[in-house]
């Protein structure tokens, strides 16, 4: 069912293009379609568009509601990192209500969020991403790579116990491989740790503006700590297995660094508040943002442009271009100046009014319900299409460069992050070091995920010590009461597991007047913007080489899927906020993939 397009005029070097589409993409959360044109002669992806087709309308039904409900409602945007939304919403509400939270409540949220990173990265990496690297998959796509893996000894076999690279790949076979099954169990243990702190996973029950309702008994922390100790071997072994697999991949397939590669354009909005510093006042946001235990930052070509959350906030622009909306610049703004007196752009989420304009899908014009968030860089006068590197990559990158995080377990050196994990059942104390890699590509995004699990595990030891110290000293206060003001604004900055998350809230008459969450997937999964700049998925896939050994007839597209999945797509986040209902009609007839080998 593959259609072949004639060679476009004027592009003599380009081979015949074959349209290939994957819709829906599996092993991600939500609804994503990837539409490509592939040049099989030159083994390169010529064109890529990403699209999604689920609409629910959160920002519409939140208007006029009690702002205290926002954390409960926005959690339901996402079924895997809903708690990141609750937390971010609570951060924004704390600012709007003028709350200085009790430190113990913050340590408890940090412990919950650390468990979320450990859970989510583990489930996504080992049960969803690694299926693309497992023996069963590679046997079908690159038999020669598998043959080589059978004969390649794993450098870290003393840590993880697998003799060859192929043995590791077998351990990741879905439902049957040992690591696949163990990862499911670890994802349960870490979710129990999460539930101890935030009540329930995916949508927490004990997190409120003003703090938490979690009962801070010594038992709470004992139960968390004993589970953490139980998974430390797995965390250490995961890093070793990931390094072995990915280093092998570069050797076995020279040039693989180009898969999913794009310019280093990363955003990280910071995670884990420092309770000693954070007061949620906008005026002090630069200060408490830099005190977070994951440093916020914007990174361009390996340079840190800023770590100031005020700069980050004011630079956010929501562009249109290929999205089914009319512009809102003629509408009345909600916020003209921030509390520091800085002007707030009309394209900032605080001022966004959503005006849907449903129409046919046309890949040369409008083709997505996702808008295009960009970050305006004053220095270059450019709207940068930042990506999150799947979250973990930008978090480690920003923290490494900033040199601000300094705890007994995690330390930033200015060029790397050092992670200390204590002795565990099978393995000795280990210091893992994540160094800034040469590329922002699929493999480095995936590799960083294993390191960030270690980061979160190590950091949670620090949080545990701080929290237990408070409880032993008699401080049991986790919540502070507050009044909802008639008028107010707030913004929350956090890291969802897969990257930047900000919530922007405007209160009028004690009700929600405007509420826009900007999660990672609009950043990563956005279409071409009004300047013609493609979104990160598109950018990363376009012009990338193909290494799969199959031709067009039995092509599976594993390299493209690796590139897309490395961003950790989570589409409920991408389309939560868009109203509308135009039937999308394909102008181009995309072929159906894989009908011959269903």
């Amino acid at each position: 069912m593959t259609t072949i397009e004639d060679r476009p005029a004027g592009t003599a070097q380009r081979g015949q293009l074959t349209e290939m589409a994957w819709d829906p993409i599996t092993r991600i959360i939500g609804n994503l379609g990837i539409y490509t044109k592939i040049d099989f002669e030159n083994r390169v992806v010529a064109e890529c568009h990403s699209t999604s087709s689920l609409f629910r309308g959160y920002s519409v039904f939140m208007k006029g509601k009690d702002p205290r409900d926002a954390g409960f409602i926005t959690s339901r945007i996402c079924g895997i990192c809903g708690d990141n939304h609750t937390t971010c919403s609570v951060y924004a509400q704390n600012m709007a209500y003028g709350i200085k939270t009790p430190p113990l409540g913050e340590w408890i949220v940090n412990l919950g969020e650390a468990a979320e990173y450990m859970f989510d990265h583990t489930l996504f990496q080992d049960n969803l991403v690694f299926v693309d690297f497992c023996e069963a998959m590679v046997k079908q796509t690159n038999p020669s790579v598998l043959a080589r893996a059978e004969n390649t000894e794993a450098p870290h076999r003393d840590v993880h116990g697998y003799r060859t690279i192929a043995d590791i790949m077998r351990a990741f076979n879905p439902f049957e491989g040992a690591v696949y099954k163990q990862a499911l169990k670890v994802s349960r243990t870490t979710r129990e740790m999460f539930c101890l702190m935030e009540g329930r996973h995916v949508h927490p029950s004990t997190v409120y503006p003003g703090g938490v309702g979690t009962v801070p008994t010594p038992t709470l922390f004992t139960d968390y700590l004993s589970r953490l100790i139980e998974i430390l071997d797995f965390v250490k072994q995961s890093v070793a297995m990931n390094d072995d697999i990915f280093d092998f991949w570069y050797q076995a397939l020279p040039g693989y660094e180009e898969v999913g590669r794009r310019r280093v354009l990363l955003g990280c909005w910071g995670a884990f508040q420092n309770p000693g510093v954070v007061d949620y006042r906008y005026e002090n946001m630069a200060n408490w943002g830099r005190a977070m235990y994951v440093t916020p930052g914007v990174i361009v070509d390996g340079q840190l442009l800023t770590t100031d959350l005020v700069d980050i906030n004011l630079g956010i622009r929501i562009l249109l271009g290929s999205s089914y909306y009319e512009d809102w610049v003629g509408e009345e703004p909600f916020v003209t100046h921030d509390p520091l007196g800085n002007p707030v752009d009309m394209r900032h989420p605080w001022n966004q009014t959503t005006l849907p304009a449903p129409q046919k899908r046309d890949f040369t014009d409008k083709y997505s319900w996702v808008m295009s968030p960009r970050w305006y860089d004053k220095g270059s006068d450019k709207h940068l299409a930042l990506d999150t590197g799947g979250g973990c990559f930008a978090r480690l990158y920003s923290t490494a460069l900033a040199g601000l995080v300094d705890t007994p377990y995690v330390k930033s050196t200015g060029h790397s992050v050092q992670i200390l994990l204590p002795r565990s059942e099978k393995l000795p104390e280990m210091t893992l070091e994540w160094n800034i890699p040469l590329w922002s590509n699929a493999i480095e995004r995936d590799r960083s995920r294993a390191y960030f699990i270690a980061y979160a595990a190590a950091m949670s030891l620090h949080f545990l010590e701080q929290a237990m110290g408070r409880v032993r000293g008699g401080d049991m206060r986790t919540f502070v009461d507050f009044e909802v003001p008639a008028e107010g604004i707030g913004c929350g900055f956090h890291e969802a597991v897969r990257g930047v998350l900000s919530h922007h809230l405007v209160i009028r008459d004690g009700k929600i007047a405007n509420y826009h969450p900007y999660p990672p997937t609009p950043w990563n999964g956005s279409p071409r913007d009004s300047y013609g700049t493609p979104g990160p998925y598109e950018d990363a896939v376009q012009e990338m080489p193909i290494f799969e050994e199959n031709g067009p007839d039995d092509f599976k597209g594993v390299d493209i899927m690796r590139a897309v999945r490395s961003f950790d797509p989570c589409l409920p986040c991408g389309v939560h906020m868009y109203v509308g209902g135009g039937r999308t009609i394909k102008k181009i007839h995309s072929p159906m993939f894989g009908a011959t080998h269903g």
């Binding site: 819709d23 959360i29 009540g199 029950s205 309702g213 009461d481 209902g581 995309s590």
Partner: protein, 361 residues
Amino acid sequence: MSDATTSQPTSNGFDEITILWISEGMSCDGDTVSITASAQPAIEDVVLGLVPGLPKVNLHNKVLSPTLGGEEFLAPYRAAARGELTQPFILVIEGSIPNENVNGDGYWTSFGNDEQTGEPLTLNWWIDQLAPKAWAVVAAGTCAAYGGIHAMAGNPTGCMGLADYLGWDFKSAGALPIVNVPGCPVQPENFMETLTWVLYHAAGTAPPPPLDEMLRPQWLFGKTVHEGCDRAAYYEQADFARDYNSPKCQVQIGCWGPVVNCNVTKRGWMGGVGGCPNVGGICIGCTMPGFPDKFMPFMDMPPGAGVSSLLIKPYGAVVRRLRGITNATVNREPKWHHNKAALTTGYDPRWRPVARKGQPQ
């Protein structure tokens, strides 16, 4: 398992069944993620055939699919829609069902494209094709069961629960009503336990799961949150939390537990850990057909709690005082625990019960 009679399916059961799971309703995929948290039983144990007496299960779920996606993933769904699937199948729907009659030529959510026209196929199209052919239909989570958060007042999609869409008297090809397992998200073990019961029924070794009038499993949703809550004793003593620092009963700060059908306070969230009011999180009624509107604003006292928590006050005050006195008493050891020269325990070496006349000793 030496007892062959318990593990052999009867002649009217199936030895193999397919699960077609569609999470393309108005959802967050949180129910799929939630069920991977269950170890009682675990999804991989069901798929790998480790639970004795179940049919062989072929699971198709977008998040857990080993395929790369696209047509390879859609193939069994297409086959089922054409009526060409060789095994019976269970249709699991996750997410609420949008009203596609209110948006002109538009659509709210889709699952794959039409093979001829290339246009998106709506969730509703798939339900229309698959539900009548399905041996059983299961709604995973509150959105699919009753509409849930996306069906909130002011929503633009007009979405609803599966029974609102198919009809509350719908019967599947296997003569079962829709099986609703509500919860936002669904409590992991509640879902897996219900699915397992349906699978035992498929094997011919169990009757259909007993459901209440809202099509919920009776054994899971027959009691209220409050009836299973370990903070309910504070209520009885009229001792209420004034804010979220308190480990006491939360009905005056937003908890709807006394009127909500849910077992989470008994079962915990997963593996007995976590929950809602038992661990400091107000019950916002997320399993209920009236969720969320009837429970908002979530952090205010439910209207009924004002009256009931007032009525319990005089009783609670007396009981609390009396229990305080008794508690002080039972907190003291008996007076004969001492190291003095004389034994004061009342010990009598010759003691015997006095024999009654005419009775043997």
